[in-house]
């Protein structure tokens, strides 16, 4: 009995401790005080006297941005806020829309369902990890929205989702309301698995050539067209009151492809070489669907006209090149060439690291191809918003848009600048001064944890710890969750 009570006490204390040190990077948040904070959060914010980079209508000097109930309520000079509004003096600072990363693997606990060549039945939405520290680090770099993609191990990969990086919130609150979901396709070396030996004991997976990649996609869409027809027939029969037709058996692999055919799901196609880009355009035209974006698209500059004619966007690296054979013909002038051919181009990260500084990736495009400041900024704001079909909500500083804005201490295209405050829907999700202010608490907490029993050396009653493992860095396209480091 005494033991039981003791255990209960220990349990209660540890529960209390756990909730107190819930590691939301120092923000002590329990569900209760989180709700409280939200109730207390001002519904109005006035950012005063900043240089405002609107993206849509130029740069406004000495201007204010008024945020009300999560939306941009006014942009102009000498704006007035109501009582209780949060007022931020941004004299000498810059305000721009939150950065949108059109190719991310942030916050997913698995990237590649690589065992099959068509994995359209899986969805990254099911593996969102809202505590991924990468989210916070990206917010600190001014990124507010990410297109979270499945990996590129398969010709047709998993379903994808657009999120707002609302660090500290449950996963369900990350999902970008109304944004069309997508599906990842992949062409070239990764779906061929040419740089990755098969898992021990397994045979090499089909396809092994770019011919096979095309065939895999064609085969899947041929089946999807049939499947769609089965359902169309069934629904037509239902409509005319014919009860004799049985419903087709549901196929979770083909359903997302039917959505593609119906324009309800975007195709984001990982691609490198010009030939494979043309291949997918041809297949898409044949089956009557659109490729929404070509991702990476390092040789897009060779077939920019064809990409523009198809109406696909190009979501590319600023300057990655030479890391594998299909990236050897990359050139950082890719962006400029595609843009001038009429392709909507964005610059992406495909990396938890790079997603912290996409502003510099955009700035590089002024060097490579002489983009203007506004063109460069569009690569990480309006253009990815267009590619994801969310341009009515984010991507510029305009009346009525979501208040996803970032205050920078200098021009965001300068390497010497850094974000000071990042807002999503009018709420602060990163603030440098708050971050710094929390650090003393963090140090204290760290010291306490280091004293905790599991971290005690064996001589002081602890057991020998296991070897520290690297935390798997699920942030690149070709990481395969096959249990073995494929590189």
């Amino acid at each position: 009995m005494r033991d039981k009570i003791k255990r209960l006490i220990v349990f209660t204390i540890s529960l209390a401790m756990f909730s107190a040190i819930n590691p939301v990077h120092g923000q002590t948040r329990t569900p209760d005080n989180q709700a409280e904070q939200r109730r207390e959060a001002p519904t109005e914010t006035l950012i005063r006297n900043a240089t405002v980079l609107t993206i849509s209508h130029g740069t406004l000097q000495n201007s204010d941005v008024l945020i009300r109930r999560g939306k941009i309520a006014a942009v102009g000079q000498n704006l007035k806020a109501g009582g209780g509004a949060r007022v931020i003096d941004a004299t000498g600072k810059y305000v721009m829309p939150g950065i949108i990363d059109c190719h991310s693997h942030t916050m997913i606990d698995a990237i590649n369902e690589g065992t099959v060549s068509v994995s359209s039945m899986v969805n990254v939405k099911d593996v969102l990890n809202p505590t991924d520290i990468a989210i916070y680090r990206e917010l600190a770099g001014g990124t507010t929205t990410a297109n979270v993609l499945h990996g590129s191990a398969n010709s047709i990969g998993g379903q994808t989702i657009v999120v707002k990086l609302k660090y500290g919130r449950p996963a369900s609150e990350f999902i970008f309301p109304g944004a069309l979901p997508g599906i990842k396709f992949a062409l070239g070396e990764n779906p061929k698995r040419s740089n990755f030996p098969p898992l021990p004991g397994l045979q090499r997976r089909y396809p092994a050539t770019r011919m096979g990649v095309e065939e895999t996609i064609r085969d899947a869409f041929t089946r999807a067209v049939d499947y769609k027809k089965d359902w169309d027939d069934y629904r037509a029969a239902q409509k005319r009151g014919d009860k004799s037709v049985l419903p087709p058996r549901r196929d979770l692999q083909l359903e997302p492809l039917v959505e593609v055919l119906e324009g309800k799901r975007y195709v984001h196609a990982h691609s490198y070489r010009a030939d494979e880009i043309l291949m997918l355009i041809n297949v898409a035209n044949e089956f009557g669907f659109k490729v929404r974006t070509f991702q990476h698209v390092l040789e897009g500059y060779k077939v920019a006209r064809e990409i523009a004619e198809h109406g696909a966007g190009g979501s590319t690296f600023s300057d990655w090149w030479g890391y594998k054979i299909e990236a050897y013909d990359a050139t950082p002038y890719n962006t400029a060439i595609m843009m001038r051919a009429g392709v909507v181009v964005s610059v992406n990260s495909d990396s938890n690291e790079l997603a912290r500084r996409l502003n510099i990736e955009a700035a590089k495009m002024m060097k490579y191809g002489d983009l203007t400041e506004e063109e460069a900024l569009k690569l990480i704001t309006l253009n990815p918003a267009i590619q994801l079909g969310i341009q009515d909500r984010v991507g510029t500083i305009d009346l009525g848009k979501d208040a996803d804005v970032v205050i920078w201490n200098g021009h965001p295209l300068s390497v010497y600048s850094r974000p000071e405050t990042t807002f999503i829907d009018g709420e602060i999700f990163f603030d440098r001064q708050q971050d710094i202010a929390r650090r003393a608490d963090m140090e204290r907490e760290r010291a306490q944890l280091e004293q905790a029993e599991p971290n005690r050396p064996p001589a002081q009653g602890g057991t020998a710890p296991t070897i520290p493992r690297r935390r798997p860095s699920h942030d690149t396209d070709d990481e395969w969750d096959g249990g073995i480091d494929q590189r």
Partner: protein, 473 residues
């Protein structure tokens, strides 16, 4: 001088099993291997974008006038002239008389900087890291390869060379990787038709990866040896340190024996050993040893080990260097900071932990420089982004002038070539970059480029692909 050194380096360049092979055979193998590697790399390149194959542009006679000159070593000159002749900076100042016969370059509105130096690359050793193993020459078989020399395998016609230099990086330390002793690094200028033409210091430093109990390599060893807990892993790492210690002690003894024999031919003749011979200048502290170490405990252990062995250490990596800044200052050990733009080591590190690393070292008075990072494979294509690493450090507390020094003068000082490189001073090698803006800004364009007084075109594989396709309709 540097040519003569280079010849030596060719003779010493051998693989890890060389100690079992006679010297003449080794020489033959080295020459043969170097031919083969150049051939295979060229075969991999669809079209060679470097200009004027086999021909170096001349060391010209130039006067860059009306420029803002950022000397780095001294104050900026608001409106001045730089005279370049015979590969060197002949004169620099606000009131320089331009000698007759010089080709005039009007740099009104432009800025003149020394070329940037990246002290942590494998440039020239790796063309395509994935899917083309024939183009990868960075890592030898085995743990101890002190005699593997980067200079031997540098491909002067690598597309990476021109791609990097047109962004203003004119000199790099290029180094082997892998094992415990990876090999010897070379300081090269990013221009030349042979490795020797490129070499500034052919055998600039020995490269050691300090053994550690955790991380990718340690995991591999743990798996091999059935190591399951940290205590065993630390033991395994200590055994490797012991292995290293023994080899370095053998090299000391070898050096003493050879010296003794040179003075007194009546002594028994000690047998030749290319591996030990290659270590002698390093164990004697005549040349620096670059030691890769990122974590606090590794850095401390590496510095203590280096002092015990009387090496001349330079820490490469140094993610945790800010934690041991006073220790590094006290022991006067410089750091090549490679991780400025890496994700912090630990999940609970602050978001700006690595952004602020350089600033904290600077505040603590530790000698440091900033490198694009020698982590592995993909880094060569990132060397051209060196200025933005320094820029990020400046965004997080490093004074701007210090950020510039961190990629020019400081790496030159740390690598012992500041008498020739790293600033705009009369007598130094004319590695000069003329830009239309701040050198560290991403939007800045390089307008003129000189390496050893040779004016180079601002073309690379990337500009050529651009030219080929920009007008396709």
């Amino acid at each position: 001088m540097r040519r003569r050194k280079a010849v030596g380096s060719w003779q010493l360049a051998v693989g890890s099993y060389a100690r079992f092979v006679s010297f003449s055979v080794i020489y033959f193998v080295v020459v043969a291997v170097s031919f083969c590697s150049v051939d295979s790399v060229q075969a991999q390149q669809p079209s060679d974008p470097t200009f004027q194959q086999g021909v170096l542009p001349p060391m010209g006679f130039y006067a860059i006038r009306n420029a803002r000159i950022v000397t780095v070593s001294g104050p900026e000159i608001e409106n001045g002239t730089v005279v370049i002749r015979n590969g060197k900076i002949e004169a620099v100042g606000a009131n320089v008389t331009v000698p007759s016969g010089a080709e005039m370059i009007d740099a009104r509105g432009l800025r003149v900087y020394p070329g940037m130096i990246d002290a942590g690359t494998s440039l020239g050793l790796v063309e395509v890291p994935e899917g083309a193993p024939g183009t990868v020459d960075a890592s030898e078989i085995g743990e101890m390869n002190p005699n593997a020399q980067a200079l031997v395998a540098i491909n002067p016609h690598s597309a990476h060379i021109a791609v990097t230099r047109v962004n203003g990086v004119t000199t790099v330390l290029t180094m082997p990787e892998g094992g415990i002793i990876s090999g010897q690094a070379a300081i090269i200028n990013l221009n030349g038709t042979t490795p020797r033409e490129m070499a500034v210091v052919p055998q600039a430093a020995l490269v050691i990866t300090f053994p550690r109990a955790a991380g990718r390599r340690a995991e591999f060893i743990a798996e091999q040896q059935g190591v399951t807990n940290l205590a065993q892993a630390i033991e395994a790492a200590n055994r490797q340190v012991e292995q290293l210690r023994k080899l370095l002690r053998d090299a000391e003894a070898y050096g003493r024996a050879q010296d003794a024999y040179a003075h007194d031919k009546n002594l028994p003749r000690p047998s030749q050993d290319v591996v030990l011979a290659s270590l002698v200048p390093f164990v004697r502290g005549e040349r620096p040893v670059v030691i890769r170490a990122d974590r606090e405990s590794e850095i401390r252990a590496a510095v203590r080990f280096a002092e015990e062995m009387r090496l001349k250490p330079i820490i490469l990596g140094g993610d945790d260097a800010w934690k041991v800044a006073s220790f590094l200052k006290e022991h006067n050990v410089p750091v090549i900071v490679t991780g400025t733009l890496d994700l912090p080591l630990r999940e609970d590190d602050y978001y700006d932990t690595l952004y602020t690393n350089a600033a904290r070292l600077q505040q603590a008075g530790v000698r440091f420089c900033i490198s694009s990072g020698f982590t592995n494979s993909e880094t060569n294509s990132q060397v051209r982004n060196l200025p933005f690493e320094a820029g990020m450090a400046a965004a997080f507390g490093l004074p701007k002038d210090e950020a510039l020094k961190a990629v020019t003068l400081y790496p030159a000082q740390i690598m012992g070539v500041a008498d020739r490189l790293g600033s705009i001073e009369a007598g130094k090698m004319a590695n000069i970059v003329v830009t239309d803006g701040d050198l560290l800004e991403a939007r800045t364009h390089v307008r003129y480029l000189f390496i050893e007084g040779r004016q180079l075109p601002l073309t690379s594989r990337h500009t050529e692909l651009y030219e080929q396709f920009k007008n396709r309709r």
